[in-house]
């Protein structure tokens, strides 16, 4: 039963004649019983029942006059006068939504409920995997204006009768809509829990109504500066500038688009790079790809398709140059998968996915692939700035050397370098001097012009520039230490000393 009371009658009558639909009337009567909004036939039936007696029927007729087209009206009026009987009221009920005139407040949003069908269609089409979903609705701004206008219209009447209608008690269009939609969507999607607050899966319905967009224009005219904050602040001005009650629209508000968005999933791991001609990210200049593939693409492709995600953001704990290999345990990386249509993966499935990636290319390899939280991403970034890294470089010397000439390098500990931004990256980085430490080094003699240099350095140290000096802009550098021109022929990353992500046992 609808909790409509005697005191609601003046409100109902006023709104009916203004052109409001049944559900909006319920809202203005502050009916907060969700079930009341869900079943349209009952709503009207009960409304009819509430209006008993001849006077009430007159009001109902005028409601019908506003809501139903003329040809239907005659049929209805006769049945209404017999409204005391069940059949009379039922006759009203049978009229379909499509026959009614558009409500002046909700612009048909609470009348036709076509947003629901569209939402369900979109969810099914996307083939998403989810346990719960949350609905979000975006309504055109003019609804605010119209709502306020109706409230003003009713407020006067109500006050005259010694009653009070608090604007805050009026149920919002959005709320009522969600109440109705939640029930219908849950039913259509076979028992999905439609939650009210938070869910990783969000279905957003956006409504627009260009016909009545002009309703808001007076606001811009009245107060151009404060148009944005709260439209409700324009109370007093509203009655002057805007019709009260609002004008009836000719078309119903239609849902513009339904967007389904699943909250991002984060996948982390460590990668090895075995190729000396593979960039980290796609190398494209002027729309032309300069180098085939990239670490990012090789790792992302299988993951993207497994999770059926729309896109991804790849980041890693630092990165290496195109011509540098990453050996050892590999470099930590994390990927944000955007709008993943599938998100549940077991440990076994993740292992399988890891295997797929490793089989797909011999240029890279991943390990410890796992799903992590968004917060975990910061653990990875801290590695970029704080943790140490180890390298092996193949060094060429201009002057011929012997084993004894390079042994002193092994004893150097915690060498502080002043590195000006290397010229090779200066075009995209600020010019600055960075102090970095080389914690320790060890050498392995190869021949009179070559040796291997192992280094353990602070994060952010430019190894290549330490070896060749970068026009003397890195001090001290290997050329100065060995008193000869030196150059770096090859570089490998041996380890990135970050203990994240946690290792996944084989």
């Amino acid at each position: 039963m609808l909790p409509l009371k005697e005191k609601d009658k003046p409100i109902i009558q006023k709104l009916l004649s203004a052109g409001c639909c049944a559900r909006c009337i319920l809202r203005f009567c502050c009916v907060s019983v969700q079930a009341a909004y869900r079943k349209p036939p009952e709503v009207r039936l009960i409304l009819c029942r509430q209006l008993q007696g001849k006077k009430d029927c007159e009001y109902l007729s005028s409601y019908l006059g506003n809501v139903y087209p003329p040809n239907k009206r005659a049929k209805l009026e006769t049945s209404i006068t017999d409204a005391q009987s069940e059949e009379g009221a039922a006759a009203v009920v049978k009229l379909k939504d499509g026959d009614s005139r558009v409500c002046v407040v909700c612009l048909g949003i609470l009348q036709e409920l076509c947003g629901t069908t569209q939402a369900v269609k979109a969810v099914k089409a996307g083939n998403y995997e989810f346990d719960t979903l949350v609905l979000s609705v975006s309504l055109p701004a003019q609804l605010c204006v119209r709502e306020h206008s109706c409230w003003l219209h009713v407020k006067k009447e109500v006050r005259e009768k010694g009653l009070v209608l608090n604007k805050d008690d009026v149920i919002q269009v959005k709320e009522a809509f969600k109440w109705i939609m939640q029930g219908m969507v849950a039913k259509e999607l076979g028992g999905t829990a439609v939650v009210t607050k938070v869910s990783p899966f969000e279905v957003s319905v956006e409504f627009t109504h260009s016909e009545t967009d002009a309703d808001c224009h007076f606001l811009a005219a009245t107060c151009p500066d404060c148009f944005k904050p709260t439209k409700n602040k324009q109370v007093r001005k509203q009655t002057e500038h805007y019709p009260c009650p609002p004008k009836q629209p000719t078309s119903s508000c239609s849902p513009q688009e339904v967007q389904c968005l699943r909250v991002s999933v984060f996948v982390a791991g460590r990668y090895n790079k075995f190729c000396r001609s593979l960039p980290q990210t796609p190398w494209v200049i002027d729309g032309e790809r300069r180098m085939e593939s990239s670490v990012e693409e090789l790792i992302a492709a299988p993951i993207l398709s497994a999770f059926r995600a729309d896109g991804f953001n790849f980041s890693s704990s630092g990165r290496e140059d195109v011509d540098v290999r990453t050996l050892g345990n590999g470099r930590p990386f994390a990927m944000e998968l955007l709008n993943p249509h599938k998100s549940r993966f077991s440990k076994e499935q993740m292992k399988q996915l890891q295997e797929t990636i490793n089989q797909s290319s011999d240029k890279i390899k991943v390990r410890d692939l796992q799903i992590v939280t968004r917060e975990a991403m910061s653990r990875m970034k801290e590695g970029e700035e704080e943790k140490t890294k180890s390298y092996t470089a193949l060094v060429w010397t201009q002057k011929p050397i012997q084993r004894e000439d390079i042994s002193f390098i092994d004893d150097i500990k915690d060498l502080t370098l002043d590195q000006k931004t290397p010229l090779r990256v200066l075009h995209r980085r600020a010019l600055a001097v960075r102090q970095r430490a080389i914690h320790s080094m060890s050498t392995r003699f190869l021949d009179s012009h070559h040796f291997y240099l192992r280094l353990k350095t602070q994060a952010g140290t430019y190894i290549k520039e330490f070896v060749h000096g970068d026009f003397g802009r890195t001090n001290p550098n290997l050329c100065q230490l060995l008193k000869t021109n030196t150059d770096i022929l090859e570089l490998d990353v041996e380890s990135v000393d970050v203990d994240w992500p946690p290792p996944v046992p084989e």
Binding site: R424, L426, H427, R429, L431, H450
Partner: protein, 182 residues
């Protein structure tokens, strides 16, 4: 790591400059004979201004008395300061903007010029402390300045410059001119 083939003791492995920079030249800068400049252009469009090996400063065993980045009353290249990724604040140079004046111990004076249009990023302060760097390693540690051309101009700035072959042509013409009987 893979092992590397043995190279000649006097190996000429391609240097950092060979791998990443293109050598451009400006000969007889401002009409002064043999005052040749060498512009090293990195693949990322940044240019390093250096003395070409034929420059008078590097000939006849000259030594340097002083290097002055104060090129006029109101302008010192040392005061150049760039900030941020877009290098705002750097002095904008045209082809003939002076970078510094070098006086040698034999009282000869030379002005080194920008040679290209662009924003001055830095001048080499190491050569103020150690002028010998300029004499011993004019192409690397003895560089004069680093200039960033405008993105739109990064290709066009080389239109007025000579490539290595053209420069060597000019040098050989000079020697043959000298060896001709007067």
């Amino acid at each position: 790591m893979e092992s590397v083939e043995h190279e000649d003791t006097k190996a000429n492995a391609p240097s950092v400059i060979d791998r990443y920079y293109t050598r451009w030249y400006r000969a007889d800068m401002k009409g002064k004979p043999c005052e040749d400049h060498c512009i090293l252009q990195h693949s990322n469009r940044i240019c390093v201004i250096t003395l070409a090996e034929t420059h008078p400063i590097l000939q006849n065993g000259r030594t340097i008395k002083c290097i002055n980045y104060q090129i006029s009353n109101g302008c010192s290249r040392l005061k150049n300061k760039v900030s941020g990724k877009s290098k705002r604040g750097g002095q904008f140079l045209t082809d003939f903007a002076p970078l510094c004046r070098i006086t040698c111990t034999d009282e000869t004076e030379y002005t080194i010029y920008s040679c290209i249009r662009g924003r001055l990023l830095e001048v080499n302060e190491n050569i103020l402390e150690t002028p010998n760097l300029l004499l011993e390693k004019p192409s690397t540690e003895g560089y004069i300045a680093v200039i960033l051309p405008k993105f739109e101009e990064s290709k066009s700035i080389t239109e007025n410059l000579l490539n290595r072959d053209e420069f060597e042509n000019i040098i050989s013409k000079r020697s043959s001119a000298q060896s001709q009987p007067s």
